[in-house]
């Protein structure tokens, strides 16, 4: 990994996600800090990244590196944690049953990922699917249900839906800009995670000629 990527590109990408992940356009207090639950989820994300080899912490913080290089590595780790917390907070609906359900599902998915210990490509794919699904649920599906605009038929159907679900599904109406900001932040986070310094992989000698997919991570 180049010094520019470690010192400039990755921190700026993660800090941007940390900044705009908490933005709720149109709200009285538009900058929302992460919830305690999203901090817990962020710890699980970091653990999953390390276990899968997507992130090699020894390539960011190590006794053999210079002090300034270690400082850069520390900034990457802290900003990654902050970005993960803000992104998961941003993707979680704000109230009602959806908030509880998404929280539980995210927790179980991350727990499952930790137990399964997937390799880097599988973890990146899994992250893309999880964040993409949470984005669609909150910013497309639930936002459409909370949209105050629309004809009489739509409003009647939504009112019936609200009654049927005892009002537990209804979310506050989202600002139209919120979805676009969230989409960009999800993309930026996934790209930044893919750019993290990964663990070195060693191909067992017998497998390389046959182009086998099995690989072994070097634990050093």
């Amino acid at each position: 990994m180049t010094a520019a990527r470690e010192a400039i590109v990755l921190p700026l990408m993660f800090l941007t996600v940390a900044l705009f992940g908490g933005l709720e356009p149109g709200a009285p207090d538009p900058w929302a800090p992460p919830s305690l639950f999203s901090l817990v989820l962020a710890v699980m994300v970091l653990a999953a990244l390390v276990r899968s080899g997507t992130l090699a912490p020894e390539r960011l913080l190590d006794g053999s590196r210079s002090m300034i290089a270690n400082s850069n590595g520390f900034v990457v780790l802290v900003s990654l944690f902050a970005a993960s917390a803000q992104l998961l907070h941003m993707l979680t609906p704000r109230s009602g049953l959806p908030s509880l359900m998404v929280g539980v599902v995210l927790f179980l998915l991350l727990l499952n990922t930790l137990v399964m210990s997937p390799d880097r490509p599988r973890l990146l794919r899994s992250f893309a699917v999880v964040t993409g699904s949470a984005f669609l649920l909150k910013f497309v599906l639930l936002a459409a249900l909370a949209d105050p605009d629309g004809g009489r038929t739509k409003r009647v159907l939504l009112a019936l839906f609200d009654v049927a679900t005892l009002g537990t599904m209804t979310q506050p109406a989202l600002d139209p800009r919120a979805g676009y900001v969230a989409f960009l932040m999800v993309l930026l986070f996934l790209v930044a995670v893919a750019l993290l310094p990964c663990a070195a992989y060693r191909f067992p000698a017998g497998l390389v000629p046959a182009r086998e997919r099995a690989i072994t991570r070097t634990e050093s």
Partner: protein
Amino acid sequence: MDQCIVYADERLSCPTRYNRAVREGIVRGAGLVLALVYASGIVWTYVRQPQTVGQLTGGLAAGIGAYRIDERAFNDGLAFFRRDRFVEARAALMRADPAERDARTQFYIAYSYYRQGWGRIYSDDTLFAEGLKHVDKAIALAPSGRLVVDDPNVQMHSADELRAELQAGLQRDASDFNPLRVLRPRK
């Protein structure tokens, strides 16, 4: 010299390797400073909760002492204020201080809410509440929380007086039913 012999094995000349190390050091140092400044900006943003781009940029400029209000818009606002054209006065004053970082401007905005909301029989709670919000902002921005405006056109010269008057207007008590209230003057 010893180092040059060692580096010769790595097909890099001494100056090349030295330049690369220096360049890497500069990149790492610049990145660290940039990240720390950006992180400080994020913390500031979450603490201050700016709602517009003007508030965001103005707040950051005020942080380094580079924020100035638009004096022309401020004078326009003051002229409207003195002619009891409070909506126009507020528009000009808010234009003068888009980041809401100037105590004196916030004081006049609060005062315009007071004068517009003041009534002989009753006061407008919505306007008084807005005025209270702005006078609180003015007090928070003033050094040591003390703000005195030397203006002969207003009867209340300190932000504390204005705040007390606005708060009194928002309270409900027995004095509200005193018929002599209609004789009280607008300050």
